[in-house]
Symmetry: C2
Subunit: 333 residues, 2 copies
DNA sequence: TTGTAAGCGTTATCAG
DNA sequence: CTGATAACGCTTACAA
């Protein structure tokens, strides 16, 4: 690349305005110790030459990149996009850039993202990836990169986390349901390799059922909603009823649609509960009862926590955010 | 930050392994001209010390950041997330990092993103933001940053673009509809400040109606689907029929739901057409007739084009991608 | 094959 | 208030 040759440097600005590098640097950093006269002179030259400081060089010189590394799975789920939006919004407000690392649901890939986070010299990192365990995170923090982990309880010297409260709510709702409806045999929809949140809620689901001495079943479903829809059209040829707990809105909707399209009524015959609710829970018909966490807030919060952590001022290293249960049309009272 | 003090540098690796900086550099860059013996020796030290090269310093020295800047609006629409996923996937494959700049639907904000793209010294940029016009883009390219623009026809020395083909398809479908159904007065749903794609399709819509000498109307709706839903519940108290063209699935779904919940039948009484279809077009009931473009492919393609552009080998500077019309349940034959 | 030394574009510490 | 000059961590001719 011949970018270099073309790029105007601070040196040229200095020469053109007849001052030293140091002075130009002071001007662009809005520091004091510069006469109004020289400041204006330099500013004029900067405008004329179209000079833009190199973030790279600045970062190297100050040892601050004002960048945060964000590691998230590449799935285009709405809730992940929301987290990212929250992060970006606060990052911008705080004048930080974002280096984005999207992982592809493999441990290998997540680890390589970690490597990149380290070499890319970010000032801090936000990790929202279920492949990464505590030891992987500590790899990052051992390089003195303050890190906030979302959806995994990890604490440490330079590390804080945000954990989601879905299980408690699920236990509560499920218990109420089972106590009210003595015939119901609930079905948990297991999606292969869908991370620790699913695993935890599945565990909670099973523990409630066992605790109440009730039958239950766990069904494997595909992560694609269209495939799940087809599978359940088949399923509803044999089964005419069910209480389903699904991971995401689109899975829940697929089941609800399969039921409806099979002539079953929701929620009279079939009930569906969605764990991670999004705005689509309101758009589908029937609307989906679901547990909601404002994912944009999660993103925002993670940056706030990171900023505190970077100043070594993070008091509460673990921030727990509870989901809110919203009953909608897909379940009975 | 005391990162600096702690970070292992190439210099320390050199000293610890008794070779020069240059040799270490050769080792980490997998260059030849190093004896197997010294290579191993150095590698061992690198492992022992946990040395990771600083991407910053490398970028500065080589004048290559191997980073692409991505500017997209912060809306958490599914299709934007898909574009981003496509970009990220190919970027990773090509060993490029991503600097993400999310804009907030204001010109000011978009311009500041442009500034940041320039100072952040990326090797190339992908811009998908309707606030930015040709002159703003040229600001970037004038700094020798090759740029691919999505959804805006911009060409130039270091610039290529991807444009969406929605209008042609819309004209076709709308014309057919109007010719078949002589009574229909189509309604276009205008969302304030929703970018040039909406503006272009609105123009196409109007031109078709005028061309066929037919009545039509343009209705302002809110960008939030829940508000739109409420507005249309009101609307359907007076109107019992309509042929609606909406910008996105969630808007279209809101109208379809309002109609259904008002006791109207779709598509017998009310028809709805969605311009930008996503997977949710299949999940709602009725399913939504819509125009589809694989946004992940758009993202991927943009990176491929950018890579070519960076090598000055981009042949077709404008890549047009046509939408595919998919008739579903929300419109009649 | 290896080492020396001069960059890369900034900032920051001193003197002046 | 301003200017030299040495960092920052790495690459890369050029020499050896």
């Amino acid at each position: 690349m011949e970018n270099l040759k073309e790029r105007v440097t601070i040196y040229e600005v200095a020469k053109a305005s007849g001052v030293s590098l140091a002075t130009v640097s002071r001007v662009i950093n809005h520091q004091g110790n510069v006469t109004e006269a020289t400041r204006e002179k330099v500013q004029a030259v900067i405008q004329r030459l179209g000079y833009k400081p190199s973030g790279l060089a600045q970062a190297l010189a100050t040892n601050k990149s004002t960048t945060i590394g964000v590691v998230i799975p590449k799935a285009n789920y709405v809730y992940i996009a929301s987290v990212l939006n929250g992060i970006a919004e606060v990052a911008k407000e705080k004048n930080f850039l974002i280096s984005l690392f999207l992982t592809s649901h493999s441990k290998q890939d997540a680890l390589s993202a970690v490597e990149k986070v380290i070499t890319s010299h970010v000032d801090g990192a936000i990790i929202f990836d279920d492949e990464l365990e505590e030891e992987d995170i500590s790899k990052i923090t051992s390089y003195y990169v303050p890190t906030i982990v979302i959806n995994n309880r990890v604490e440490g010297e330079r590390c804080g986390c945000i954990v989601f409260g879905y299980e408690g709510n699920l236990r509560k709702i499920l218990t109420e349901k089972l106590n009210k409806d003595k015939d119901a045999t609930p079905v948990f929809l297991h999606v292969h390799d869908c991370g620790r949140l699913l695993a935890r809620t599945e565990k909670a689901f099973i523990s409630v059922c066992k605790g109440l001495n009730r039958n239950y079943s766990v069904l494997n479903v595909d992560d694609s909603s269209s495939r799940t829809y087809e599978d359940f059209v088949e399923y509803f040829k044999k089964h005419k009823t069910g209480y389903f707990v699904a991971y995401r809105d689109s899975i829940a909707a697929a089941i609800a649609n399969a039921a409806t399209d099979s002539g079953l009524r929701i929620p009279e015959d079939v009930e569906v509960l969605s764990l991670i609710g999004t705005k689509y829970a309101n758009i589908t018909r029937p609307t989906l009862s679901s547990f909601n966490i404002n994912m944009q807030d999660v993103g925002k919060r993670s940056v706030y926590m990171l900023m505190d952590l970077m100043k070594n001022e993070l008091e509460k290293k673990t921030y727990r955010i509870e989901s809110v249960y919203k009953k909608r049309g897909s379940t009975r009272e």
